[in-house]
């Protein structure tokens, strides 16, 4: 094989490799920061369901596994297992919160030790980003896994880092990879 042919061979292979790489690679690591201000919150207190579930359930629970105190009252204000909290946020693209960029909704279902599994979606101008993960009650620093999206975030993966921001706001850093459109 002459040097010319070898050169063409390599050039063609490189070109094709570049073209054949999955779209995930070309759109990797899109970063987006939004500032969130709480708009609405609803706490769902499932004390009656917990109490009913202790006497009527499909399991054979041991007495020490239940969370009620000896007098049948829950200790403190929870959140207790089975409670859920719904949060709605307004999103802004700037730290001064002058440029609205969408909304976010968190649905958090509490398990034990005041930890919740939260499902969230960020409704942005060019699509939805979904994220889920564990959030301890009252935590301002937490990380969620991005599990998918629609439109511009079709097939998205990645993570959302949450940190406090000025003015009772929360900053969400969305690092999105794998978008395919």
């Amino acid at each position: 094989m002459s040097r010319t042919i070898a050169g063409r061979f390599l050039f063609a292979a490189v070109l094709l490799l570049a073209a054949a790489l999955p779209a995930t690679a070309s759109a990797a690591s899109k970063k987006l920061t939004v500032y969130a201000v709480p708009a609405t919150v609803q706490f769902m207190n499932h004390a009656d369901d917990r109490l009913r579930g202790m006497s009527t359930n499909p399991f054979n629970f041991k007495a020490e596994a239940v969370i009620l105190g000896a007098k049948g009252k829950e200790k403190g204000n929870g959140p207790f297992p089975g409670d859920d909290i719904l949060y709605a946020f307004k999103l802004f693209s700037d730290a001064k919160r002058t440029k609205p960029s969408g909304t976010a909704m968190f649905t958090c279902y509490y398990e034990f030790k005041k930890r919740a599994t939260c499902d969230s979606y960020f409704d942005l101008a060019n699509g939805l980003v979904l994220a889920s993960g564990q959030v301890p009650f009252g935590a301002t620093h937490f990380t969620l896994a991005v599990t998918g999206g629609t439109k511009a975030y079709f097939g998205a993966l990645g993570q959302v880092d949450s940190v406090p921001a000025a003015g009772n706001a929360q900053r969400f850093d969305l690092r999105v990879t794998g978008t395919q459109k």
């Binding site: 490799l17 609405t40 207190n45 403190g76 204000n77 599990t147 794998g178 459109k181």
Partner: protein, 177 residues
Amino acid sequence: MRRELPVVLAALAAAATLAVPAASAATQGRSFVFYAKATHAQFINHADDRARGNKANPFNAEALATPPKANKGKKGARAGDNALFSLNVYSDPALTRLVGTATYSCTFNFAQEAICEADFELAKGTMIAMGPAKLDGRPIVLAVTGGTGRYVGAHGQVTSTSSSARKGTQVLHFQLG
């Protein structure tokens, strides 16, 4: 150049083979349509839990109260209520070839919007999807977040719309990346 061409083509083919990702080859770039008809529905009204939660909750006095308008609207569908739907899934619009079932589990948040988790149990695997829904007849677009069997690693979106041709039928359009 005639003798060089097969060599270059072979190289291109080899390069392409290497570059195609091994995973998700079965579902990548697929678009398909199923048809679904509801078989069961259950609405769970958590009015008591909502009322109790407004009085007994872990927030301090600085916490935001739920704005009255957040839960206005038609009866039911208030924040925290649940709606569950079971559907049969068919491959044809005449609903003669059953290929699986689907379940939507939705929790309402505010302004009659819900977050729904959908589970599609199909003959050759399952898919799960999640996203917001109004549940008022408008199209629902959920993000497909994973699957099993034939749909392992599935990612994309599924759009559910009411069929104009057949009342009570949902058209499920899957677009997988």
